[in-house]
Symmetry: C2
Subunit: 416 residues, 2 copies
């Protein structure tokens, strides 16, 4: 009988379980700091935008009916009555046969209902222009509520704010927004062999790779990592750290414990917490099988695989979802990818999902997905990888030359 | 004769021009702060990693030749000589017919050359185990230099650091790294009609949308925005701000000036700067045509379109490249996308590249790319868009039902 045996949860079910976690509370912050934060309230527009009729081209504000039938051969002749000054209410009123010069963004004067582009006009003298093209009513004009209407739902609760969203908020004069708090993630590294990075390891010891990999992962996906320390393989020491984590953070992640004994201890510590509920004990994926997800009250507690590569892939696939959930973001299932050709066969076992680390290569016009072979305890194959290829549960593998979708690492960031 | 006429530069040429800008200087920072920063020096490994032979499975360290021929029907019988303690150098030495218990990550004792997984063993009594499967030499063992070899090039100059990279640096005990400085971008909004967002606009006035959109864009792509203020349409005032920007920043971006007059003024101010060189005066794209790129000394100076939507799309396509370049990152041309079906025909003119803003929709198993129609002066269509579809220069458009590649906005961020 296998000591580490447990019933594996399929990945789809793990997502459903994660989606039952409640978002954190909201807080009010200035829009300057709101990039990448998730709205905790719908935003309705307090006013029309732009709020006045605006020229969208450089040219002449006119009554459109005065241009009807105008052509290069039979231009309309109009009287020039001055110029609209930017940022001011034009004092003039456009009457029959009259025009005013206007620049893009200028306010349309009363009486005018369209703008003739400067390209289709000629000055005859200081106060006379000819127009060689007819315009329709409202041509080259933005109406007061063309961009955003008063009372309109501008941005929905659950939306992660992007630069243009914040531009729109600025445009409406909204200086503060309600967003969900950033998830604080308490991270604990375990293992008698793990030492801080500033120490020189003796044979048998290793520096704490997982702390940095997981902390940076959290930062990359918009959470705040709080490192609680390296914990020896000791029940009371670990329990004390987990309790501390529950006090100061929104979720506790224990990494390390690649041996069955340490994994058992992680679970025992969780089980000793008041109100603990075990939700997932092993996921039907490779790598990442020995993952534990539970909750203490409303807070997710997680035992990640000790192998850094497995822990990182579990973070990419499942922890990112936990962070989305705590942040109040509605997860989208439309994910960008890169289509590429496999450079070799990769086998997979039925009954589990496999995630293959691949490097992307260019060969002429083709993009190749080159699997990186390496034990999951190594960090170097992860450095070489550009993303993951998922082999579905019911497939036995992917074949050389097959077209696959490579999913870039979420925590890679877009550019930074 | 068109007053705003200028020779348009094709986008590919604009990229070549941008790639001639030099990366900024380097600085030394702790690895904790290095996520998303770009290495300004190659990193070589100071030591082997893990540095000692390590078990990759829970089980028994043995001499592999003692297991040769072992099977469930004819198991090998070995004498158990204790257990390897994690993080310590095992004191025992494995002789013929001997085994020691070892957990994943433990150091292999002298004499042993492999690990039998616990699943293939049975305890017969306290000091005797039977092994029912043969192992090859070095099976389930990581060698001292299996992950990273001493002197190996671990991470190359020009690489933007991701979480596993920082994990590897931690594992090697590298606490500080040399990275290129973050580009500081001075941003100036122009226009007599533009007012700060805390003010109530009179008719004819608009709040400063571009400042927030462009500042957040910079932050999203790893640059530091410095807002210099709103500048009226006045040559000396603008010149003073540009000079100030040249002093305190690595690049100056002027936005606004959608009218030809203001655009002309931006160029005049640039031309009045000592050592100015005009590189691009108009790009053959839509939107974004009236973009000016030049340099003063080694610093890029940019005149962006005044329409916020155009300015943002130019930022996504070209300013992101400037920031990559100043940050010292080698631009990759493998970009993730989402394949989707167009919901309608979109025309394009030959001789320019068109960028269509689209919203992604799901319809059964299909993903649809739904073009968002709206004047480029509006911000709301930009909020609704999930990404861009590029129509190449020599194409006349894309058709309803055609499969297109939707490029997500770079500044959307991966998750945050």
């Amino acid at each position: 009988m296998l000591k580490g045996f447990f019933k594996l949860t399929p990945p789809e079910r793990v997502f459903e379980i994660i989606d039952t976690f409640a978002p954190l509370q909201g807080e009010e912050i200035p829009i300057e700091d709101s990039l990448g934060r998730v709205l905790s309230r719908d935003i309705y527009s307090p006013s029309h935008m732009p709020g006045f009729p605006r020229a969208t081209m450089d040219g002449y504000a006119v009554r459109s009916r005065d241009t009807f039938g105008a052509s290069p051969h039979l231009p309309a002749i109009l009287e020039l009555k001055g110029e609209v000054r930017m940022g001011e209410i034009p004092k003039m009123r456009i009457g029959k046969g009259e025009a005013v010069k206007i620049a893009t963004g200028g306010m349309l004067p009363k009486g005018a209902d369209g703008v003739v582009m400067i390209e289709f006009s000629h000055m005859l003298d200081d106060s006379t222009i000819e127009i060689e093209k007819a315009i329709s009513p409202f041509e080259n004009v933005m109406q007061p509520d063309d961009d955003i209407k008063r009372g309109e739902l501008v941005l929905e609760k659950g939306r992660r704010l992007r630069p243009p969203d914040i531009g729109a908020l600025a445009g409406l004069g909204i200086q503060c927004v309600s967003v969900y708090k950033r998830p604080r993630i308490a991270i604990i590294s375990t293992g008698d062999e793990v030492i801080p990075i500033e120490k020189e390891p003796s044979p048998g010891q290793v520096r704490d790779i997982n702390r940095y990999t997981l902390s940076c992962f959290c930062t990359a996906v918009g959470a705040c990592p709080i490192f609680l320390g390296i914990c020896p393989d000791d029940f009371s020491a670990l329990k004390e750290l987990v309790e501390r984590g529950m006090e100061i953070a929104d979720s506790v992640w224990i990494s390390g414990g690649s041996s069955v004994g340490t994994r058992d201890m992680t679970l025992k510590v969780f089980e000793s917490m008041h109100g603990f509920e075990l939700l997932v004990h092993g996921i039907a994926i490779r790598p990442g099988k020995p993952t534990i997800i539970g909750q203490v009250g409303s807070k997710p507690v997680v035992g990640l695989p000790g192998q850094v590569s497995s822990a990182f892939i579990v973070a990419e696939i499942f922890m990112s979802r936990i962070i989305k959930r705590l942040s109040g973001e509605d997860p989208s299932d439309i994910v960008p990818y890169i289509e590429a050709k496999m450079t070799r066969n990769m086998e997979s076992s039925p009954g589990r999902e496999d995630y293959i680390r691949v490097r992307l290569l260019k060969e002429g016009d083709d993009i190749l997905a080159d699997p990186i072979i390496g034990k999951s305890g190594l960090i170097s194959p992860l450095i070489q990888a550009d993303g993951l290829v998922r082999i579905e549960m019911n497939r036995e593998g992917v074949y050389e030359g097959e077209k696959v979708k490579v999913i870039p690492f979420i925590s890679k960031g877009a550019l930074w």
